[in-house]
Amino acid sequence: MSAPEPLPEPLLAAEGLAIHSASAIIVRDASLAVRPAEVLAITGPNGAGKSLLLRALAGLMPDGVRVEGGVHRPPGRVVLLPQGGPLTPHQTLGAQFAEVTGTPAEGRAVLWLERLHVSQAARRLHLYPHQLSEGVRWRAALALALAAEPRVLLADAPAAGLDPTVRARLLALLADWARETGAALILAGHTRDGVAGPADRLLALENGRLAPPPVSAEPVTAGPPPGGAPVLSVRDLRVTFPLGGGLFGGRASTLVAVDGVSFDVAAGETVALLGESGSGKSVLARAILRLLPGAGGRVLWLGRDLLAMGEEDVRHLRHALQALFPHPRATFDPRRTIGAQVAEALAALAPEVDEAKRRARVDEALADAGLPAVAADRCPAGLTDGEAARAGFARALAPAPRLLVCDEPLATLDATDREDLLAHLLHHQRADSLSIVFATEDADAACRIGHRVLVLLAGRVVEEAPAGVLTQDARHPYTRALLAAAGGGRPDLAGDPPPALRLPTGCAARLRCPRARDFCAQEAPHLETVRPGHRVACHYWDADAGEWDAGEWDAGE
C-alpha cells in the first residue's frame, strides 16, 4: 500500500475571520478551508450568520458590516448563489446565460440546464423566470451558477423549499459537478435543508463559532408498538374541493385531495403519514379532526363516526382530539397572550374546571412544555419559533387528549428544538398512552417515531408498513426516494412532482419513476400485500433490485 497522497492546497481558506455589525459580533474567529473537489456543508440555526459568512468568503459584504481576518481566494471565479436563488425578472433565461458566459451561444446553456435535469431546456431558454415552476427556477439558478465555471461555488440554502426528494437529487448533482471538475463547493443551510447529505465535511455555525458539529445524542425513537383494539379507524376517507362554479353558474370541477384512505390507530400507537407537499397528508390530518369536511368514508372515534355527527357533538369530543399545526406562531391569535389562549382552549374543552384550577393547569401545561412562566403573558410575536412550538404543545396537551393529530409540527424548528419536542411528545405518549397521527415529509422522523408508516402520493396510500420494515425493505420507488432523501442519499425519482390538477393517467408516480413501463399509464395500481402488514401500490413492486437497475440502464439515465 502506497503512502497517502499529500492533501492538495486549499482553494479557499479563511483564518481568524470575524464579522461585526454596528452593534454585535456575528461571527468570531472562524477558520475554514476547502480543497479542490471537496464539498463542505455549513449548518446553523436561524440568524446564526450563515449568509453573512458566505458573503464574507465571497468578498461581498453589505454596508455596515465589517470583516476582520484574512480570506485567501483562488485566482478565478468565486460564485455566490444567494438565498432563494434569485433570477433577473425582466430577462429570459437565455439572456441571463449569455450574460454569464459572455456568448449568446445557446448550446452550452442547454447543456448546463440538461445537466441539472431540466426537460425541454432549449424551449425554456426563451422563458422569463416567472414562467418557470419553482423546481425549474431553482435548477436554472443553479445551472447559471455552474455556467460561470467557478473555482469555488458558495450556495446559500440551495433548493430550500423544494420537496426533499427533488432537493436531495439537485444537491447530489451539484456535488457530482464539484467532484468532476475539481471545484470546491460550500453549501450553507439549516440541517432540515438537507445540505449535509452530499457533503464530505460538516461544520456548524452557532453562537458565532464555527466548529465541527457536536456528536449528537442517540436520536429519539418510539417505544415498542402497543397492541389492542383501534381507538381511531379511518375507512375509505375521501376529501374533495370544488373548483370553479358558484352562485352564477359556470363549469365546476373537483380536486380530489384525499382518495380512499383507510387505517387504524390503537391507544398509544403512532401512525406516520409520509409524503411530499401536495400528497394530501395535511388535508387528511385536518379531515380526521373534522376541521375540513369529508366527502366520503368514515372516521370512527371509539366506534362513533365523526363525519356523521353534528358540529356541536364533535365540539364536545374535541377535548380528546387535539391538533398541532405547522407554523406554530401563526396558530395563535397575534393580539392575545399565550396564557389567555391556552386558558381559552381549556375553558372551551373542559368547562367543568373552575377558574382557579384552570389557571393552575395552564401554568402547569406551559411549564411541562418547557416554557418559562413569563411566556404566559407574551403575545405570539414575542416568542421564538421553538417557544411558539412549545406553546402549541401546551395548548394541545392541556386538556389531556387521547389522540393528537400533528401536521408537520416541527417543520420550522432547528435540530435541537426538534429533538426536544419529539422527546416530549414520546414522553407524553408513554405516560398517557396517547395515540398520535404524525404527518411529515421527513422519512427519517416518520420512521423513528411512527410505529406504522403510511406513504401518501396524490391523496392515495401507495405503501404502508411497520416503520422497521419500511426502512429495510421499502418497495415503492417513491418511498425509496423519500427514504434516500432523508438519509442524505440520491433519490431515484426524476423531475418535479406533477401539479395536483394535472396528474398523469394511471400511476401518479409514473412520470418520475425509474421502473415505469407502458402498463403504468393504463391503470392505477391497487394496494397489494407484500407480507402481513406491508402493502404497496405498484405494478412492479416485486421487481427485484437487479432487474430494477437494468431497467434504469435501459432508460438511459
Binding site: 352562485l247 365540539r315 399545526f325 391569535d333 393580539r335
Partner: protein
C-alpha cells in the same frame, strides 16, 4: 425606548399599533391640523358679528359643514364598501369575481362627476349630495376591503381555535374580527379624503350643497366669479390643508397595521 420600535416581548399588538402611529410624523401633524380646523370652526361665531362677510371668517364657518358632509358621506361609503367586500369574500368563487369586477369597473369611471350629475339632473339637496358622494367613494372601498380580507383572513389561528373547541361564532367575534378591524380601518380610510374632494368638486362647479349652506367648495365656486377672485385663497388653502391632513392620517393608520409575517 425609541418611539417607533416595536418590542414584541413587552408590547401588545395594540400598543405596538399606537407606537407605530405616533412614530409616523405626517400622521400626527395631520391629526393636529384636523383638530385645529375643528376648533377654529367653534371660535368663528365669536368673530362672526363684526366680520361676518370677511372671506376668512366665512371659510372658517364653512369648515364644520364641509368636514361633516365628508365624514357622513365617507362613513356611508365605508360601510357600503366594506359590506360589499366582506360579502364578496364570504360568498367566494365566481360570485366574488363578479362582485369584484363590478367594483373595479365602477372605480374606473370618473365617479367624481356623480354628485354633479345628481345635482344637475335631480336638483340640489344635502341628502342627495351625501348619497352621491357615498356612491362615488364606495367602489374603491370595496376593492380595498376585499384585498385586505384576502391577504389576512385565511390564518391558521382560526382553524387552531376551532380545534381548541371554540364555536364558529366565538372564533369570529374573539379572534377574526378584532384582528381584521385595524387593517380594515386602514383599507377604507381613503374614502374620507375622497368624499371631501368629490363633494368640493361639486361645490366648485356650482352644483354642491344648496344656497344657504356654505362649504369650501361652494365658497371657491362663488369666489371664481367675484372680481379678482376675491375670497378664493382662504377656502382653497383650508381645503388643501384638510385633504393633505386626511391623507397623512390614512398613511399613519396603514403604517400602524403592517402585514405581519407568521
Amino acid at each position: 425606548m425609541d418611539a417607533g420600535r416595536f418590542d414584541p416581548t413587552t408590547d401588545t399588538p395594540a400598543q405596538a399599533a399606537r407606537r407605530r402611529f405616533a412614530a409616523h410624523r405626517p400622521a400626527v401633524h395631520g391629526v393636529g391640523a384636523l383638530a385645529v380646523l375643528t376648533v377654529l370652526g367653534f371660535v368663528e361665531p365669536l368673530l362672526a358679528g363684526p366680520f361676518a362677510t370677511d372671506p376668512i371668517v366665512r371659510a372658517l364657518d364653512a369648515g364644520h359643514t364641509t368636514l361633516a358632509l365628508a365624514l357622513v358621506g365617507g362613513t356611508l361609503a365605508a360601510i357600503v364598501g366594506a359590506g360589499w367586500g366582506v360579502l364578496a369574500v364570504t360568498i367566494g368563487g365566481r360570485a366574488e369575481r363578479r362582485l369584484t369586477a363590478l367594483a373595479q369597473g365602477l372605480a374606473a369611471l370618473p365617479l367624481a362627476l356623480l354628485p354633479v350629475l345628481a345635482g344637475g339632473l335631480l336638483g340640489r339637496g344635502v341628502d342627495l349630495l351625501i348619497l352621491a358622494v357615498a356612491a362615488a367613494a364606495a367602489p374603491a372601498a370595496a376593492l380595498a376591503t376585499r384585498t385586505t380580507l384576502r391577504a389576512r383572513a385565511r390564518r391558521e389561528y382560526a382553524m387552531a381555535a376551532r380545534a381548541a373547541g371554540l364555536t364558529p361564532a366565538m372564533v369570529l367575534w374573539r379572534h377574526t374580527i378584532p384582528n381584521l378591524a385595524g387593517p380594515l380601518l386602514a383599507a377604507v380610510w381613503p374614502v374620507l379624503p375622497r368624499a371631501l374632494a368629490v363633494e368640493s368638486f361639486a361645490g366648485v362647479v356650482g352644483l354642491g350643497a344648496p344656497a344657504p349652506v356654505d362649504t369650501w367648495g361652494t365658497l371657491i365656486g362663488g369666489a371664481l366669479t367675484a372680481p379678482f377672485g376675491a375670497g378664493l385663497l382662504a377656502p382653497a388653502l383650508l381645503l388643501a390643508a384638510a385633504l393633505a391632513a386626511l391623507n397623512a392620517v390614512g398613511d399613519g393608520v396603514a403604517a400602524s397595521f403592517p402585514e405581519e409575517r407568521p
